[in-house]
């Protein structure tokens, strides 16, 4: 296996506070990699920097051999990195089929001239997009909503739509930002199963998630962040038995006695 996404020495500070203080990790092609850590550990900042939604201060991001460091979001997407968002983002007032088609259109060869002339190239592109959309909709089990406006779906269903949209153009890596946060427990299993199937079909995922059980069940490789630093890295089993990880989640016992002395002094 080779790394499809390599992140080296990622740094980002807001007003002097380090959100990321030199984080490096790699995502192997064909793997599911988890990125976990407690609140404020820098996970979201990391994927925002990788996907071009925030400027990084320093570091290097390489996607399938191409340096994409500091490029704008739509360039990075076109280079083959698709992402979802923590608070679900879909086009509420467009149909499910349109939601998926838009995610694909930047990746086919048809131009607007082709479209106006309805050339063969345009028709083939639409066919390919449609076939892919049908397949993905079947996978997420929303066939009966194919022509319905996405706005009428539930929160969990919208998360599935966002996932399907990210997969539309056969990206090299799909970055999922909290795919199961706020989703019904019964549905979490469905999402887990869908991701596993997609992975077996060759898709590569980088998943940021709070739900450690979900990550443990699914991921081949897990990276743990804490306070902007990489705390641990390894297989799910290794991470689960690493005491430092639990420490990070539950917090270290602060030196309260010491602090008391400081404040009374």
């Amino acid at each position: 296996m080779s790394a499809v996404l390599e992140v080296t020495g990622l740094r980002k500070a807001y007003a002097g506070v380090h959100a990321l203080d030199g984080v490096s990790f790699a995502v192997e092609a064909g793997s599911i990699t988890g990125l976990i850590g407690p609140n404020g550990s820098g996970k979201s900042t990391a994927i925002d920097c990788i996907s071009g939604f925030q400027r990084l201060d320093s570091g290097k991001v390489v996607l399938a051999g191409a340096d994409i460091t500091g490029r704008v979001a739509h360039h990075i997407a076109r280079a083959g990195l698709m992402r979802t968002f923590q608070t679900v983002r879909v086009y509420e007032r467009l149909s499910l089929s349109d939601n998926l088609a838009i995610a694909h259109q930047q990746f086919d060869a048809a131009t607007w001239v082709d479209e106006f002339l309805r050339t063969r190239r345009y028709r083939k592109a639409v066919e390919a997009s449609e076939a892919r959309a049908r397949r993905l909709v079947e996978l997420i089990g929303l066939q009966r909503y194919y022509e319905a406006e996405v706005g009428i779906l539930s929160y969990g269903q919208k998360k599935l739509v966002a996932l399907a949209a990210a997969l539309m153009p056969h990206p090299k890596v799909v970055v999922l930002d909290e795919p199961v946060a706020g989703v019904n427990p019964s549905r979490i299993r469905e999402i887990e199963e869908a991701l596993r199937q997609l992975n077996q079909a060759g898709e590569t995922f980088l998943i940021v998630e709070h739900n450690v059980e979900f990550i443990t069940n699914l991921c081949h490789q897990v990276v743990v962040l804490d306070q902007g630093l990489k705390l641990a890295e390894g297989t799910a089993a290794e991470i689960h038995s690493d005491s430092r990880v639990l420490e990070a989640y539950l917090g270290t016992t602060p030196e309260i006695a010491e602090a008391e002395m400081r404040t009374s002094a």
Partner: protein, 244 residues
């Protein structure tokens, strides 16, 4: 620990059409510190906002000092003694510490401003050293303490704290926890949501554990601290399934 400070009766609250906290019932006792814990998205912040009144209330009752307050706007609840320090930076960054403190007195009659500021500034000596500094130029920990001070000016009897130690160094976290303890010693009831669960439980009397918007477990802080299910609340997905 018998005096009731706040009673939540089957509270359902959230945003828009989306209830996040569902039928949540709990009691807080006067002068105690209670920690509210639970995984991300469990509805902790939503519950605090519901008690202060800055989100949508669907059903249930919030009883404070023998009065139901769930229909009151936030400023009325503040006048009755419910103080809330939201998550993240919640001060006026382009105003000095002094001006921020004066804003904290907003609901007090003008005659009491000077005495209130004097009283609170005495318990937070750090503030005096930065009196003319813009709040936006303070460190994260200093801003957190300023925010708590701003709410304490009106002498609330119930203080709701949302992630007071988030983004602070361990040393500053310690200072914030000690401050919370000091506040509780003056008789204020505290309900705190904390990412540093261990630190929070160390200073707390009781703990409420939330899962999927509902109350999952409650008990004395010391017991909850050693309960193995807490580990699962953070590292596992669905407590009910794994616990069964």
């Amino acid at each position: 620990m018998t005096d009731l400070a706040l009673e939540l009766v089957s509270v359902t609250a959230g945003y828009g059409d989306n209830p996040i906290v569902r039928e949540f019932s709990a009691r807080l006792y006067a002068g105690t510190i209670t920690t509210l814990i639970g995984g991300n998205g469990a509805g902790k912040s939503t519950l605090l906002r519901a008690i202060f009144g800055t989100n949508r209330h669907f059903s249930g009752q919030i009883v404070f000092k023998g009065e139901t307050i769930e229909q009151l706007p936030p400023w009325e609840r503040l006048k009755r003694g419910v103080g809330f320090v939201p998550q993240g930076r919640c001060n006026f960054p382009a105003m000095t510490v002094e001006e921020n403190m004066k804003m904290g007195c907003y609901t007090l009659p003008a005659g009491r401003h000077v005495a209130a500021i004097e009283r609170v500034a005495n318990s937070f000596p750090m503030l005096r050293t930065k009196w003319r500094t813009d709040a936006g130029n303070l460190s994260g920990g200093e801003q957190q303490i300023l925010e708590m001070a701003m709410v304490l000016l009106v002498e609330p009897t119930l203080l709701l704290l949302d992630e007071p130690s988030l983004g602070l160094s361990p040393k500053m976290q310690g200072d914030v926890f000690v401050t919370v303890q000091q506040v509780a010693r003056t008789g204020v009831t505290v309900l705190v949501v904390e990412q540093n669960v261990r630190g929070a439980l160390l200073i707390s009397d009781r703990a409420l554990v939330m899962e999927q918007g509902r109350l999952f477990m409650e008990g004395p802080a010391a017991e909850v601290r050693t309960d193995p299910r807490i580990r699962q609340a953070y590292l596992g997905g669905n407590i009910k399934q794994t616990a069964a």
